[in-house]
């Protein structure tokens, strides 16, 4: 009997492996927006990467800071050189877990509100954050995740000089749009 149990357990292990549902993208769209009466700033990055393990809810995002494209070339240069210091801190990312998301949720068409808890890192600073987002499962089986949240530059040691303080919003809106494909 014991022997059978062990056998059953051993069989179960590969089964859990097979049940691991991973989704990934290399072309995630992350943008940020700063809106003040003085100036409107936005930048887009269409090359962010993310991997989602639906069986555990674990998720990771990474984005290259130099990949953000601005309307104005000089803004882009200042962003990389003076604000986020891309040469020293080339990547920003998030590593965490979706609460209450199961692999089955991603197989049913419809939408599902989720919360991700984890750590956001940028400009050499790592902070615990909780972010709300929405999963949209299309009838075709496509899995899309989107989220809008705000961050404060000073939380990540990004200092804004007094001279341009009125040109940059105190809270920057970040928009995330991921079109996952099954790995």
């Amino acid at each position: 009997m014991t022997k059978h149990l062990i056998l059953a357990a051993l069989f179960a292990a590969p089964l859990t492996l097979a049940a691991q549902e991973r989704y990934a993208t290399r072309t995630g769209h992350i943008s940020f927006h700063s809106d003040t009466p003085m100036e409107k700033i936005e930048a887009h990055n269409h090359k962010s990467t993310s991997v989602l393990d639906a069986s555990t809810g674990a998720v990771e995002f990474a984005v290259l800071m130099k990949g953000f494209e601005f309307d104005k070339a000089l803004m882009q240069e200042h962003f990389n050189e003076n604000y986020v210091e891309s040469d020293k801190f080339p990547k920003a990312g998030f590593k965490g877990k979706f609460n209450g998301l199961t692999a089955d949720d991603l197989k049913k068409a419809g939408t599902k509100e989720v919360t991700a808890e984890g750590e956001m890192s940028m400009h050499g600073v790592t902070k615990p954050v909780t972010i709300k987002g929405t999963f949209t499962m299309e009838p075709t089986g496509a899995v899309k995740a989107s989220s809008t949240f705000t961050i404060k530059p000073e939380d990540y040691n990004i200092t804004i000089p007094g001279m341009v303080r009125d040109n940059i919003a105190k809270e920057i809106t970040i928009k995330v749009q991921m079109d996952y494909v099954k790995m």
Binding site: K3, I6, L7, L10, F11, A13, P14, L17, R22, A24, R26, T27, H44, H46, K47, T49, S50, V51, L52, D53, A58, V59, E60, A62, L64, K66, G67, E69, D71, K72, A73, L74, E77, H78, N80, E81, N82, D87, G93, P161, M163, V164, N167, M183
Partner: protein
Amino acid sequence: MFRSTFTLIAALACTPVLLAQDDLLDLLGEEEKTKEFTTASFKTSRVINGHSLENTAHGVLDFKINHRFGFLNGGLYEWFGLDQAWVRLGFEYGITDRLQIGIGRSSFQKYVDGFAKYKILRQCESGCGMPLTLSLVASSNVTTLRSSEVPWYSEGREDYFTHRMAYSFQMLIGRKFSDALTLQLMPGVVHRNLVRTVAEKNDVMNIGAAGRVKLTKRLALNAEYFYVLPGQTMAAEVPTDRMDDPNPGYKNSLSIGFDIETGGHVFQLHFTNSTAMNERGYITETTGDWLKGDIHFGFNVSRVFTVYRPKPKVVE
């Protein structure tokens, strides 16, 4: 028994995969390296008088307001030079990320100048191996002074328009060694269509060197020096004690200054012994002697406007 052993091995073989899942993003494998060129070698397209490795970005218009006050040794009477001022107003535009053009008008000698600057090689940050940037600058200028006021005209000489022109060709070779340090060399030649005497050369060989040390995120220290090979130029009036100078009456151009960046503006504040703000002027016609206090305080203001927004590079 055979089967259970087999299962055991199969199960064990799977375990390492499970353990390796610490970093989910590793599953995507190595990212392909994107080609990335070095940026911000200098704060703007000029070091001080001379061109820097940087170009005005594609679609960006740069309005330049350059001032040179009088010599500091004018003393209190001349308010240390502030009583006089020469101005150059210019527009520069980036046609592509490699090609830039510009025009300008100076009050000094009433010069009108124009140039084109092309980046042949671009220093690469990642994805390619280019260690330096190489640019070519071709410029021309013409004085629009009345012929009676042009210093190199003599009585009775026919006033041809072409005689008023001069050209300069420079090669800029440089590298941003680190965030803090950029160095460049600028060999070049200035061609003057008309010179005052037969002893002077129409083609004036010169070589410049320039560098930048970034002090803080928004403040940099710049310096540039242009060496004119000896025996090529001679001023109209040479003090007797300077007859034996390599280029009698003329000095090599030396400038030192700060770049201060504030959002859309770059302010360049500097000290220079050159009065003119184009290649013919500062390379071949600098008369100021640093050691005698013939030093101009001056500034360049650069204000950029995005007039055309190039389409973002295609994402595959």
